[in-house]
């Protein structure tokens, strides 16, 4: 049935064609930047774990130290923080319980549904309601509908009960939330600010989205209602204004609006700029402003920025603002400039905000900066800039930051676990500066509450932050605290975090932990016997990190933990066992060789048992530990061969391991390490048969291992029988591969090269394989065969199989018509490799046939082809130029000119060098003519390369062959040609060095002309020539002509174009070498105290470079200025006036 073709009665376009059209249609209105824009946003890119940072709450604490000095009580300090933290914990517990209950309830409800029979109507309705409820994710903190209904039915919305009901139970998770509203129980009376809005009969109810992430007080629609507004809304009778509870202070003072709402429901016209700001704040304005009053133009402006910078978006009458408000706006303007401005704008703004940091004060600054950093749409660049602002400001504020330490930490700590390395470094930098500014005691009291925070994310980041503090202030100062935390009796979370801090310290500081190693180990050692499994695991990981950081020293510090660790591996299973094994793996390499074998024997039993594990993580750790065991000095090859290898190969050399990339790599690495101890033959003998396995990934894994083992240990250990099996296996694996990749090729090349002359008997077979594959219909296969030829050429020559080589050469030669550029490149490279080992005279095909065949290929645009071709041609030009007629070489010269503007530097270099070789064999005249003519072309790149080639020709054939031609060409009226000649001359003198002494006088007249030319570039290039010339002839007696050139160069020192002045300064500096600093000083002295500042500036710059170059040599040349002495200041240099 299935064999018979299906008859289709209607035809339509193929599916893929239709799809293509669909995609095309979609493509038309697609925003190509949409995807990258979301990738740039940090929050959208990161994992949920990273984004937990948005749930954190920061608290403010007064500067306890300052307060104590002034003798007053601290509010909102450590005590409060601890209380909040306890509350949070409790809240999490409750939340979890509720979720559990809901889930249970749902499951029960669904279980009812699942029954086969039709459920009664009532039940269906109930279930439907339940399902509708679950559709939107139900959150315990969202008020249920029923409750709302209830409040509406009740009499007065402002009655006490209603107040209790309506008050949002939700605790704000935003850092800027007022901590006071957390404890609902303690303060039953609430101010009206955070009230749910009243339903005014004639106006639709507007929700106040107080807790939306982008909430800001400036937003007209979402702001708090002011007293005046409330008075206007509510009737005067029947309501009383409740006084806010003592100690309640809203974090942000409700802003006073210039025009308070006087009529409700009436129509009012807003000022135009105001309206724009509001619209922008809501993201309604289609076009965002790039021009802000008082800020100027910005590089970009995002919709979200409008929320934060609303106050400065509209124009205000500044005279009505208070000093604080002015300050706030000033800060906002600067921040906006820094965040969104162009680099120069940003730079000045950054400097201003740094300079004025203390004037602004910590509070206003951080109140503006930190919310920006918590914005969800923040991008990398913005974050970088804001973090930079914090860094600069911190430095200035110093101990004024203390009240804001926690707020800053909440924002900066997430950087420590960022996936971007530079973000992590920035985060560390800030926290380290912060801890230096705030001091250890304050840092500890601020971060202490977070150590046993309910959220693992918070504990994790806090541990990292603590490790940064430790590295900034020194481990010893933090040790007492760490000891206390690691022994905390109150909660296991604290112990866990304490140990994690130690781990992070080790990871971050590396070998710098060595002086404190014993203390740190003792600090966490008891954790191995903790009753909490997580603590034990973390302890083991901490020890692993410490041992890794300390390697290869410090075993004595670990004495105390050896026993618990080794006992532990017999007691534990699963995750904690993995951690213990990891710790052991890192401690083993530190041990003395004589003891290590005992410990290894102990651990091997467990390792071998765990070879069978199905847990991926465990597998990786076991492999790593085996690798570490094998690398230690104390373990004998005998032991590895007998006790480890059999089980190891049984467990890990299976096909399944090749499928997972990380397993694959780990197995290969471990096996290579084992081979270092047990020898090549042992390992290769065990796996060589697997080269003929039917699974290709597995063959690849075998091949890679053999490659690495043979590459590091050689093949001398391999006996004849193994050699046969190995070569056979390799040929098989190479032939059978379906995905052509580097591994097989490398393996083949490495093994054959390692075997060397022993491979001779197999060469015929190998070469016939290659020949057969060179004619394969797949381009990839042909390419690989050619690549293999490149690698084998040397060995084939070693074996004396010239016959085979010439056969290969001929076949490759016939293949030069190849159409796939990658393959063609490989074929040419192979031909080149053969030519290389055989030599130009024995080469078959003969060079005189080969080269003309290469000439047209030079026009190929593919880089690989170009590079291979130019290399081959260069080699022929170098070694066997005489076999090719001069006409052919000239043709090649013309083709080579095109390669001078290749993108790849390697190709340009090879082309330039080829010119040198060709010129050497042909004589420079013709080549030089080609190159000089090429100076007339338009492309700059091409001209520059011609000049370099001219210089190379001059270097290989002697300057006397080129300089006259260049000087002659310089007389051409064309500007490009003249510049090119100068450039060529500059390269010539750079390359020939001291030889320039013979030509200095002959180029002086030309340089005179160039240095007095009106054209800047002329003088610049001439200065460069003077520089190379002067450096070349230093000490060779050309001072007269150099002094002449110096006089011509000197007036150019007032040039302002950067390249010109750079070249002139370098020429002057070169003159210092040739003429001596004394002569230069006499020039410089003329202008050091010139009345014109512009002159002085230039002369002092020259003086400075002169001074730095030869300060001591200047001493005898300083003028005698004794006559300037006045009063107490005697300027005579008396010691120099003494004589015998």
């Amino acid at each position: 049935m299935s064999d018979t073709p299906r008859l289709v009665d209607s035809f339509t376009a193929p599916k893929e064609v239709l799809q293509e059209f669909e995609e095309l249609a979609e493509e038309e209105n697609v925003d190509p930047f949409a995807e990258t824009a979301s990738k740039r946003q940090i929050a959208s890119r990161q994992s949920d774990y990273h984004n937990r940072r948005f749930n954190r709450q920061a608290h403010e604490s007064d500067d306890a130290f300052k307060a104590a000095e002034e003798g007053k009580d601290v509010d909102g300090g450590y005590k409060d923080a601890m209380r909040i933290q306890l509350l949070e914990k409790e809240e999490q517990r409750v939340r979890r319980a509720i979720e559990e209950k809901e889930k249970q309830a749902r499951e029960e409800g669904q279980a009812k549904m699942d029954l086969d029979k039709t459920p009664p109507r009532a039940e269906i309705q109930e279930a439907a309601k339940e399902l509708a409820g679950t559709k939107r994710k139900r959150r315990w903190d969202v008020e249920s509908e029923e409750k709302e209904n209830k409040t509406e039915t009740k009499g007065g919305e402002w009655s006490k009960e209603a107040l209790e009901e309506a008050a949002p139970k939700k605790r704000r998770s935003r850092w800027d939330a007022t901590p006071a509203d957390v404890n609902v129980g303690e303060t039953p009376k609430r101010s009206r600010w955070d009230q749910t809005p009243v339903a005014v009969p004639d106006a639709p109810m507007q929700p106040i989205i107080m807790n939306a992430p982008g909430f800001m007080h400036e937003d007209k629609h979402n702001r708090y209602l002011t007293d005046e507004e409330l008075d206007a809304i509510l009737p005067a009778a029947g309501y009383a204004i409740v006084t806010p509870p003592p100690g309640y202070a809203p974090l942000v003072r409700p802003p006073k609006f210039a025009n308070p709402v006087t009529e409700v429901g009436g129509f009012q016209i807003q000022e135009s700029s105001d309206a724009a700001a509001v619209a922008a704040a809501q993201g309604l304005a289609p076009e965002l402003p790039t021009e802000i009053p008082g800020v100027g133009s910005l590089a970009f402006f995002k919709a979200e920025d409008a929320q934060y910078f609303a106050k400065i978006l509209k124009e205000e009458d500044e005279t009505e603002l208070s000093v604080d408000e002015m300050k706030e706006r000033k800060i906002m303007r600067l921040l906006l400039k820094i965040k969104n401005g162009t680099p120069p704008v940003r730079k000045t703004a950054l400097r201003q905000i740094t300079d004025k940091a203390r004037e602004f004060g910590a509070g206003p600054l951080f109140d503006k900066i930190l919310p920006l950093l918590m914005e969800r749409t923040l991008e990398d660049q913005e974050r970088h800039l804001l973090v930079k602002v914090i860094d600069r400001v911190l430095y200035k504020l110093d101990d004024l930051v203390r009240p804001y330490v926690h707020k800053i930490l909440v924002v900066i700590e997430p950087l420590l676990i960022d996936e971007d390395y530079y973000a992590r470094v920035e985060g560390r930098e800030i926290i380290s500066n912060l801890s230096k500014a705030a001091g250890l005691a304050h840092m500890i009291s601020t971060m202490r509450p977070d150590i046993d925070h309910a959220d693992e994310y918070v504990r994790n980041t806090t541990a990292r932050a603590f490790s940064v503090v430790a590295s900034a202030l020194g481990i010893p100062s933090l040790l007492p605290f760490l000891k206390a935390v690691c022994r905390s009796k109150k909660s296991w979370q604290a112990r866990h975090t304490g140990i994690r801090i130690v781990q992070q310290i080790a990871i971050m500081m590396g070998c710098a932990v060595l002086p404190h190693l014993r203390n740190l180990v003792d600090c966490i050692a008891h954790g191995l016997q903790d009753e909490q499994q997580k603590v034990r695991t973390m302890t083991a990981l901490g020890l692993a990190a410490l041992a890794e950081a300390a390697a290869p020293y410090g075993i004595e510090s670990f004495d105390n933990v050896l026993k618990p660790l080794w006992v532990g591996i017999r007691l534990h299973r699963g995750k904690s066992l993995a951690a213990f094994l990891k710790a052991i793996g890192f401690i083993l390499p530190l041990m003395d060789p004589e003891y290590v074998s005992y410990y290894i024997k102990e651990v091997t039993i467990i390792l071998i048992r765990e070879f069978q594990t199905s847990d991926e993580e465990m597998k990786k750790i076991v492999l790593k530990v085996v690798q570490q065991c094998a690398a230690t000095e104390g373990v004998t090859p005998q032991y590895i061969k007998q006790d480890i290898l059999p089980d190891f190969f049984k467990a890990f050399w299976v096909r399944r391991m090749a499928l997972d990339r990380r397993n694959y790599r780990q197995v290969v690495e471990t096996t290579v390490e084992l081979a270092q101890k047990s020898g090549v033959a042992e390992i290769v003998g065990r796996i060589v048969n697997e080269l003929k396995d039917e699974a290709e990934p597995y063959r690849k894994m075998v091949m890679e291992t053999i490659t690495k083992v043979v590459a590091s240990l050689g093949a001398s250990d391999i006996d004849e029988r193994l050699e046969v099996r190995l070569v056979d296996g390799i040929i098989y694996a190479f032939q059978e591969q379906t995905t052509e990749d580097q591994v097989m090729l490398d393996g083949f090349g490495t093994v054959v090269n390692a075997l060397g002359i022993r491979v001779k008997p197999y060469l015929t077979q190998i070469v016939s394989t290659i020949l057969w594959r060179l004619n394969n219909k797949s381009a990839k296969v042909r390419q690989q065969a050619a690549d293999l030829t490149t690698r084998l050429a040397v060995v084939i020559k070693q074996c004396g199989e010239d016959q085979l080589l010439s056969k290969l050469g001929l076949v490759l030669f016939e293949q030069l018509g190849e159409e796939y550029p990658d393959t063609l490149g490989s074929i040419i490279a192979a031909e080149g490799a053969i030519a290389n080992v055989v030599g130009m005279t024995q080469m078959n095909p003969p060079v005189k046939d080969l080269l003309p065949r290469m000439t047209p290929i030079l026009r190929n645009r593919h880089e690989k082809v170009q590079e291979a071709t130019i290399n081959l041609i260069g080699r022929i030009a170098d070694r066997g130029a005489e076999f090719v007629p001069a006409r052919e070489w000239m043709r090649i010269c013309f083709e080579l000119l095109d390669l001078l503007k290749a993108h790849k530097k390697g190709i340009r270099r090879a082309a330039v060098n080829s010119f040198g070789y060709i010129a050497k064999s042909l004589g420079p005249q013709d080549v030089l003519q080609v190159l000089l003519t090429n100076l007339r072309v338009q492309e700059r790149q091409s001209r520059v390369c011609s000049t370099v080639a001219i210089a190379i020709v001059a270097e290989t054939c002697g300057p006397f062959t080129c300089i006259p031609a260049i000087l002659n060409e310089y007389r051409t009226a064309e500007l490009n040609v003249r510049t090119g000649c100068l450039k060529a001359l500059s390269f010539v003198f750079e390359y020939v060095g001291p030889q320039s002494a013979y030509y200095a006088d002959s180029v002086v007249t030309m340089l005179e002309d160039a240095l007095t030319d009106r054209d800047l570039v002329h003088r610049q290039t001439a200065s460069t020539i003077v520089k190379h010339l002067a450096l070349g002839v230093a000490g060779l007696g050309c001072e007269d002509s150099m002094l002449h050139l110096m006089n011509l160069v000197w007036p150019n020192c007032f040039e302002t174009s950067p390249h010109v002045i750079g070249a002139v300064m370098e020429a002057v500096e070169a003159m210092r070498v040739t003429l001596g600093p004394g002569v230069l000083l006499s020039y410089v002295l003329q202008g050091l105290f010139h009345p014109a500042r512009k002159v002085r500036e230039v002369y002092w710059r020259i003086y400075n470079s002169l001074y730095l170059g030869a300060a001591d040599a200047l001493v005898p040349f300083y003028p005698d200025l004794g006559e300037l002495s006045e009063g107490q200041n005697v300027f005579d240099r008396h010691p120099l006036q003494m004589f015998i």
Partner: protein
């Protein structure tokens, strides 16, 4: 004081601001003994004197020449030169402004 003066002076060839040359100038400013457009006679000569003295201390032949001329031990000469490096031209003149 030098830096302050320089900033107030006329903007020095603004196109040079962002190139390697300014870096060179910064580099220069990091070394003792280098100068700038507002250096006073006293400052410049003080540097010269210090250089001279350190040159004498640093070249043994020069030091022994002076020792013979002065009739002192070489060590004494070196010591005196080193001592004199502190305000070699006397105390700085009073500032005008």
């Amino acid at each position: 004081m030098g830096a302050r003066h320089r900033r107030q002076g006329p903007p020095q060839s603004s196109e040079l601001r962002y190139t390697a040359n300014t870096q060179l100038e910064h580099l220069h400013a990091r070394y003792t003994g280098t100068g700038h457009a507002d250096l006073t006679k006293y400052e410049w000569l003080t540097h010269q004197h210090r250089d001279t003295l350190s040159s004498i201390v640093g070249h043994p032949s020069l030091a022994s020449y002076l020792a013979i001329a002065d009739g002192e031990a070489v060590g004494r000469v070196k010591f005196e030169m080193t001592e004199r490096m502190l305000q070699p031209c006397g105390p700085p003149p009073a500032k005008d402004d």
